[in-house]
Symmetry: C2
Subunit: 416 residues, 2 copies
C-alpha cells in the first residue's frame, strides 16, 4: 500500500504552489495561489514563507487594493541559482543553462562520435558542456542541480542507464560517472519523461491534471500525467507506446517486434512510408531526419508523395492515439517532439479527424488536442525541471533541518 | 490544476487506514496501521478516533505485551450497519446485502425481461430486491447505502446511465428514478469500476498501488488503479480496453468497429473462435455463456477444439495485455470476470507465456500476474464498496459537523 507521509503531502503542495506561480503571466498573490490549488490560505502562507526563505520566491510589489489591505505579490526569484538541463541525443549532446525561472541563459551543443559511442564519450561531452557554461557565467549564481535526459530505460534512484537503444548500452551507472567530475546534484531520466514534465510545468499541463504527451522523434512514446503527477509505473517504463502493436504482422521494428507504432510514425517510419510510396522519391535521404524536413516542406507546396506521406502518418498516428485515448480518457492530448513540430498543423488536423472517427464518444467529449507549445528544447527544459524538483526536495533547504531552524528563530522572536 | 484540499487528504488517509484494517487477517493495532500506511502514529490515532466514534471500527482486545504497555487492537465493526451491492447484468439483477465488514448476509437474483428491457424494468427489479432484503433482515441494522453497477458509460456525480450497450439506453437518470423509491444513499458506476474497487479493497490491490484488472465477461475492459486510487479519466471512461484495436481489419465488433479486443476474448469472441475452428462443434450453443462453460469442461478432458480455443484466446489476450502492460507498467495484473474464472489456470498459464514473449523486459521485471481471488460476486461486492466509500465521505459523520461535535466534547472534558 502507498505510503503517503506528511512529508510527501507537504512536498506535493510545495510543487503545486510553485507550479501555480510559474503558470501565471505575472506576479500572483497568496490568495490567487490558494484559489488555484484548492489549498487553504494558511497552508499557502506557510508554503510561501518556506519558499521565500529558501529564496525560490521573492516579493514583487502589491496588488491594487480597492479599500482592503493591499495583497503582496510573489514571483519566482530567477536569480536564486542556476539549473542545467542536458539532452543526450543520438548524435549530439545539448547542454543548457537556465535561471531559476527556467529561462535559457546559454546553450551549447557538442557532437558525439559518429560510431561506437561509449559512456565515456557522453560523460566527456556533458562535462565539457557544463564546464563551458560555468566558465562563461563567471560571477553568476551557483548551479543548484543538473538534469540529464538519456534515451531508453533509466533507473532513476540509482541514476543508471539500464538500456540505451542507440548504443545498446546496458546498466551504465551514468550518474556515478558524472558525479566524479561534476560537483552539483545530478538527476537522470529519459526524454519522454523530461518532455512530459516540461509540458506539465510550462505547457498544456498547467491547465489540466490528466494529460498524455505523444513524442515523435527517432523514438516514439507517450508521457502520462495522472492527477497532476508524472506517472512512471513500477519500473519507470510506463508509456512505452512506441512498441505497442499497431499492425499485427506489420513492419519490422528496431526492437525486434513487428508492427510497432514506432515503425510507422518515428523519423524512420515516415522515411519508410515515403519509400513505400515512391522508392525513387527525391525526398529520400540516408539521413532520416532530413527526410522528415523535406516531407514537411514538400507537403506545404503540394507535392503528391509528401502530402500522401503526411496523410498516412496521420492515419497511423490517429488510429494508435485513439486506442490510447480510450484507455486513458485524458483531459488533454499533446503532440510533441521535433517531428510533430516540423509536420505541424497539417499533421495535427488530419490526426484529429482520424481520432474522431476511431475513439469512443465518451473519450472525445472532454478532450483537447494540440501541438506542444513548450519552447524549444522541451527535453533539456524538462531535465532542468527535474533538477528544480530535486532542489525543492532538498532536506537542507526544505526538510526538517530548515523547519527546526525556522522554529528556533520563531521561538527566539517570541522570547525577545 | 488539481485541487487537493485538507479535506481530500484527510479522506484519502481515512480510506487508507480502513483498507489496512480490512486487509489484515485479524484485529490490528494503531502501530501496525501506521507502519502499513506510512502515516504518523498521531495521524492514525486521530483517524482511528474518528472511525471509532462513527462506529466503523471497534476495539478488539489487546496485543500480547512483552513488558511494554499493551496495544489496543482494532477491527471493523461489522454490525454498525448494512450495505447493498447491486449488479445489473444483461439478463438479471443480483442484489446482495453485506454487513460493514463486507461479508455477504443475503443474496437474491431477479430476472429481467428477455426482450426490450426498459429502465422501469431495471428499477422494479432493484427495488423488489432491496425491499426483499430489508424485510428479511427484520430488526437488523439500517442500510447505510447501496451501490449499483450498470454496464456501459456512467456519469457518476449525476447518477446517470449515459449509454448502456445491451439496451441502447441513453442518458437514463437511474439514480433519480431509484431515489423516488429507495430511502438510502445511492451510488452508480459500471462493473469494470466496481470489480476494480473490489480488487483494491479485497484482492491483489491490498498489496500494490499500481494495478490493472482485466475483466472478461460479455464485455471486456481494464480497471486501472494508480497510486492506490481508482483511475477514472476525464469522463469516467478510462479503461475502455475492450474496444481498442487488436487486429486491424479483424472481426466485426458490436461497437461497429473492427478487430476490437472484445471481439476475441469476450464470451461472444470465444464462441466465435470455436465456430471458426469447427462450425459443427458440439461445444456451440445459442447461449454464448454456455459455450464458454462447455469449452472449460471440454478442455479439461483434452478435447482438441476446446484446447485450441483456449490457446487462441490466450494468444489474443496475451498480445493485447502485453501492449497494455507496456503502457501502464503496473506492479500487478489481475485476470477477473467469470470467463477468466471458468477458464482458470490453463488460460492464465498460456496467457503468461504470450505476455512474456511480447512485453518489454522492463515491463515484466516487477510484474505479478494472477487470477482474481476476490470472492464471488466482485461486481456486487465492489458496488457495496462504493456505498462504503460514500458513507466514509458522509459529512454528517466525518465532516466538519462531527469535528465540531468532537471539539465541543473535548473542550467540555477539559473544563469539567
Ligand atoms: Zn518496436
Ligand atoms: Zn468494439
Amino acid at each position: 500500500m502507498a505510503k503517503r507521509t506528511a512529508q510527501d503531502i507537504r512536498r506535493r503542495n510545495r510543487f503545486d504552489a510553485l507550479r501555480c506561480v510559474f503558470a501565471a503571466a505575472g506576479p500572483v498573490s497568496r490568495q490567487e495561489v490558494a484559489a488555484a490549488t484548492g489549498l487553504s490560505f494558511a497552508t499557502v502562507a506557510n508554503l510561501v514563507a518556506e519558499l521565500l526563505e529558501a529564496g525560490v520566491l521573492r516579493e514583487a510589489g502589491h496588488e491594487d487594493s480597492k479599500g482592503g489591505r493591499p495583497r503582496a505579490r510573489l514571483a519566482v526569484n530567477a536569480e536564486r541559482g542556476a539549473l542545467v538541463g542536458i539532452d543526450v541525443a543520438e548524435t549530439s549532446v545539448q547542454v543548457e543553462l537556465f535561471d531559476l525561472a527556467l529561462t535559457v541563459l546559454r546553450s551549447v551543443r557538442l557532437p558525439l562520435p559518429q560510431n561506437d559511442v561509449r559512456p565515456d564519450d557522453v560523460v566527456d561531452a556533458i562535462v565539457t558542456g557544463v564546464e563551458g557554461l560555468s566558465d562563461a557565467t563567471g560571477a553568476s549564481p551557483r548551479i543548484l542541480g543538473a538534469g540529464v535526459s538519456i534515451p531508453g530505460l533509466v533507473e532513476r534512484e540509482g541514476g543508471v542507464s539500464v538500456f540505451s537503444p542507440y548504443w545498446s548500452w546496458r546498466d551504465v551507472p551514468l550518474r556515478s560517472l558524472l558525479a566524479e567530475r561534476l560537483p552539483m546534484p545530478l538527476y537522470l531520466d529519459n526524454p519522454l519523461k523530461a518532455g512530459t514534465v516540461a509540458e506539465m510545468w510550462f505547457g498544456a499541463g498547467r491547465e489540466v491534471d490528466d494529460l498524455l504527451v505523444l513524442t515523435l522523434r527517432a523514438g516514439v512514446g507517450a508521457g502520462i500525467a495522472v492527477d497532476g503527477a508524472l506517472y512512471r509505473g513500477a519500473t519507470n517504463s510506463a508509456g512505452e507506446w512506441g512498441h505497442t502493436c499497431l499492425v499485427r504482422g506489420g513492419r519490422e521494428c528496431r526492437c525486434g517486434r513487428q508492427g510497432c507504432v514506432e515503425a510507422y510514425v518515428s523519423t524512420r517510419g515516415i522515411a519508410r512510408t515515403v519509400r513505400e510510396l515512391d522508392a525513387e522519391s527525391p525526398l529520400l535521404d540516408p539521413d532520416e531526419d532530413a527526410v522528415v524536413s523535406k516531407v514537411a516542406r514538400a507537403a506545404a507546396r503540394g507535392d503528391a508523395v509528401a502530402v500522401e506521406a503526411v496523410a498516412r502518418t496521420a492515419r497511423h498516428l490517429g488510429e494508435a492515439a485513439a486506442d490510447l485515448l480510450n484507455l486513458f480518457n485524458p483531459q488533454a492530448l499533446v503532440l510533441g517532439g521535433w517531428v510533430a513540430d516540423r509536420l505541424g498543423e497539417p499533421l495535427l488536423r488530419q490526426t484529429r479527424d482520424v481520432i474522431a472517427a476511431h475513439a469512443l464518444p465518451a473519450t472525445l467529449q472532454a478532450l483537447t488536442f494540440q501541438l506542444s507549445t513548450v519552447p524549444d528544447n522541451p527535453v533539456s527544459l524538462g531535465a532542468a525541471t527535474f533538477a528544480l524538483e530535486g532542489f525543492l526536495d532538498d532536506r537542507e533547504t526544505f526538510g526538517t533541518v530548515a523547519a527546526g531552524r525556522r522554529a528556533a528563530r520563531e521561538a527566539k522572536a517570541r522570547t525577545s
